[in-house]
Amino acid sequence: MSSPSSADNSTSLYEKRKAVYPKAVDGPFRRLKWGIMIVALAIYYITPWLRWDRGPYAPDQAVLVDLAHRRFYMFAIEIWPHEFYYVAGLLVMAGIGLFLVTSAVGRAWCGYACPQTVWTDLYQHVERWIDGDRNAQLRLDRAPWGPAKIVRRLFKWSVWLLIAVSTGGAWIFYFADAPTLAQDFVTGNAAPVAYSTVFVLTMTTFIFGGFMREQVCIYMCPWPRIQTAMLDEKSLLVTYKYWRGEPRTHGIKKSADDGALKTGDCIDCLQCVSVCPTGIDIREGPQIGCITCALCIDACDKVMAQIGKPRGLIDYCTLDDAEIEKKGGQGTPLLKTIFRPRTLIYLGLWSSIGFAMLFSLGARTRLDLNVQHDRNPVYVQLSDGSIRNNYTVKVRNMEARPRDVELIVAGLPGAVVWTADTDRVEGRTTVDLRVAPDSIRKVRLFVAAPAKGAERSDFSITAKAKSGNEKGDTDEVVFERPEGSTGEGDEE
């Protein structure tokens, strides 16, 4: 990265950023980047405004991370805190997905989809729209500060700030009802954390997209370093095919050299360098600064078309293919490069985790029972001679409607069941409960049984919804009696 002149001013311990003025370019990869940018930004800005009807007891926002109430809504899926493993599963999928993408198409995440890339790209478009293309930007940068430059700079920064504010602003809508929050935010009634979040994200967007840019990728982000370890000789890289391009024919008229001088296809026009958003020269080979955005491919293809050479002097190419092509062979077809054992294993892993999660999402029960035997005291002697055990029962109604639930005690001979709200009626082994929508009802269940019996008797408590055909949830629990209760009545 350092210029050869760095040895001359070796006294400097710190290096100023070398400004990059990427030139506008058009071509298939540029259009692909446009498409991905539009889709990515649209998903980010529009998602919180999508509605999803869940009835009167649950929010109608399609995607909502409701931290205050500890619920995560995503269209038809509702996740409770104890189901957080689904989120962990999504993270595992995201991890394996990155392995998959990296081993198949290299640093495609960096080049196309990373927010740093997308927003920097957006900021650079704004910059070109206000300051003009590369040369105009260079000129303006070198010009002394005057009214015209100040006005331009202020205008550019205002537009950047506007984008930054809406970026930070959109983030908070994922965590609360978007229309309400938008109103509260504008009228100054939103929570302080909303304002501080917007402020922090505004500043990071403004600074990272406007000024830090490629330095975030090169110095701050760990991902390029990890990817370096994950790429292999079969991964697609943006490659300058030096065996075809060298020696460069800068300033040499090919028609005049009569074949006496060996010339490559590269005419050293520096188009690949001037379009690069990270300011590198791809002809130096694979490097940490290359995010594989492929804009240099577009730029070079255009030049190759102008000088009547085949496209692809700079192209996606694997290290293996590079060796083959160097010897004059034919590279591996693209599909064969992408679908190879390593990527198929990643794909298999990735999709099996996805299918397992989908299956368990479909099969999960929305009524959950949790029973805890009170330990202090373990049992209570009642005046009629029977023994009572207490259980703290939690019934989780994970549906967005109130439900009538029956608690059924089974397998304990002579048992009587009641709660603080119901009376003790001999022979009754069920208790009816109404559980509010999307909430947990905690009750203390009193279970009495005759004193004569095993010191520890196993029995079961089942929670069953009275409406609907959902199978209930059953917990196995223990009824405990005082020591020596198994024996017959002790005579004097």
Partner: protein, 309 residues
Amino acid sequence: MAKNVKDNGPRVDEPTGTEFVGHEWDGIEELNTPLPRWWLLTFYATIIWAIGYTIMFPAWPMISAATAGVTGWTSRGQLEAEMKAQTAKRAPVLAAISATPIEALPAQPQLMSAAVEGGKAAFKVNCVQCHGSGAAGSKGYPNLNDDDWLWGGDMKSLEYTITHGIRNPDHAETRVSQMPAFDGVLSPAEISAVVAHVRTISGQRKGDALSQQGAALFATNCAVCHGPEGKGGRAVGAPNLTDGIWLYGGDADTITETIKKSRQGVMPRWGHKLDTATIKMLAAYVHSLGGGEATPAPQEVAVSNVQPK
């Protein structure tokens, strides 16, 4: 590794054009790559932040205390403010509990559950010393989880018991029951006959000649408080002798000792130590433990010697 020795300077790494520092570990050498300038600026920013922080908040240690900081913030002050906010948040609930007659509490489920939770906390502070952390009691200290009550297990009776205590000599309204010590009044043989009778009516022993003899003695000496059938009486705090629950123990030796020496358990009164809301919450908590009884009809209260507060 490509190296290039210049005539009069440090060696330079060819691919990057950067000088070597001169350090080497197992053939790995360090390049003198300059730090990016934004890194330095970030470092300066953190220094400025740190200086600002030490001005705003307590920081520099002096001889007896640290500098206070211009914001005047202290962790104790923060705790105090948070506690105050919590107290203020709880105040309306406590006021509502205080204003509600105790027998009306169960009809308001939200207030009742707040009272039970509050009572649970107050119980841990004031009551566990005798009744145990699970309110299961021990010998001489009643188990509050069961369904046997000396003085009544409805909310109002519980509130009265907690407010006025049991056998507080300095307090007129306190609950008092006096079982005489029968050592000397009855002969040891007579006492063992009474013990046999009591163990018979509580189903621990089969009736025989001894218990028959005890039954006659019971009728003349004990039935006045414990009732002719030994079922006790809450008006005088006399325990039911026919059930499965014994405050001091139901075996022959313990009953003998109880009859001989009597028992004079004391519970302190809390009316002058705790506010009315706390006492109500304690009653609600004890009531919720599993043995709570419904509030009796008014005329039952009228015949008892319980004085309305």
